[in-house]
């Protein structure tokens, strides 16, 4: 099977251990012993797309980035919450 074009990255420096991503997509996200986010699978199947985007949007510190997914049709509700400069 060809490797997925989806790419998931997470910034453990800014993670505040909300655990939201771990509950949302357990196969892709986990936490280290300190509780900071770990990416288990950086190229998950595109079938997880919707859940991945939800995890990205749900992260309270915007510590998750998902690339390689079609975002058209996403509602714009979170447009105003794009990363704010200086946000930890």
């Amino acid at each position: 099977m060809a490797e997925s074009r989806v790419r998931v990255t997470a910034n453990s420096e800014t993670c505040v251990t909300s655990s939201l991503c771990v509950y949302r997509v357990p196969g892709v996200f986990d936490q280290d012993p300190e509780g900071r986010v770990l990416v288990l699978d950086a190229h998950p199947s595109a079938e997880l797309g919707r859940e991945l985007l939800r995890a990205e949007r749900g992260c309270p510190t915007r510590s998750i980035t998902v690339e390689g997914l079609d975002r058209s049709g996403l509602d714009e509700a979170d447009e105003g919450t794009a990363r704010v400069e200086g946000a930890a």
């Binding site: 909300s18 509950y23 936490q31 300190e34 309270p60 510190t61 105003g80 200086g86 946000a87 930890a88």
Partner: protein, 398 residues
Amino acid sequence: MSSSCPVSYPFPWAPAPDIPADWRTMRDQPLLEITLPSGDPAVIVTRYKDVRRLFADERLSRNTSRHPASRISASNDLFGDPEIDNDPPRYLEERAVVMRAFSARRIEALRPVVREITAELMDAMEAGPRPAELMEAFAYPLPILVICHMLGIPPADRAKFRRLIDGYLSVTKLPVDEVERCRTQYWDYLSELIASKRAEPGDDLISELIRVSEEDPEKLTDYQLQHWVKTLLIAGYVTTASQIGTGMAVLLHRPETAKELQQDLSLVPSAVEELLRYQIMGTSLGSLRYALEDIELLDGTVVAKGTTVLLSVESNMDEEVFSDACTLDIRREDNHHMTFGAGIHFCAGAALARMELQEATDGLLRRFPSLRLAVPGEELQRPVGGFLAGYAEIPVSW
């Protein structure tokens, strides 16, 4: 709600289990001038997009003690400890020490413990008189027992502990000297508790924090250690207790919705989330911030430097983000509500609270299939003068 005439905050509730009219209309203005219970002025940011942005904005300081910031309460300086800096980088270092206890794995390991406590409380409720009072019989004891388990607090201490916290959390309920007495006694109680754990460490969170502070006193001073234990105890108890009660009251006030959930308990997690969004136990008083600079909102309105700011949890009713926002929908998806905040101060106990709420809701609906409010929902009374809204009493029968 005119901006020239500041309204008193929190807004009055009526009738109890529904959304107050002021919540529905507040986003007509992005910024409202309000008067806090202390009589001090503040503004409240009302729209979801602004609120979520501002939770992540470091120009808003959580440290409301070192500025001429407004107070929540004239008789209680709950958030005004000058020894504690709740801003980064210090805050983040301390928080990281505590948060290892709140990872998904650690929370899931606690789930069976919570289930057991829930079952015991329901046994007692079932054996007791009907109607039962849900707050006293179930909603208060559950999170107390859980947090006592986590922190290694002897069960015998929990009544005392609860009395002190209730007094300590008074906003306008108790006179200044009473609040002060509760604060001092609570602080002394914690000092003794920490000292006994120091002498005899256990397998609990307080002992773990003591280990961290002994290894690296710079990372966590004695004062900070005590402050965090104090905060975890308070935050882990009252908020969850109020929300267990409020969530059940809101649900049971809508018997059809309660039935729907009962018939498909796999909906419990999304129902809990929706009850948190629709949560009418809280107020935005916990989000007190101080503007270090002028900050522009999305529509160009400016929050002036030096203003005390509340970030509205009522933004959960923002129609622009939540369709049919004032309707309870236990199947709602993408429910990124603001009840736990956002950004670096995102509620440390959110995952624990969720798990407790899920276990409580699932447990009650399973054990008592005919659970119902024993009085009309509209007659439920709000407690007066405390930090949280919730309900004073929730009589239930089955």
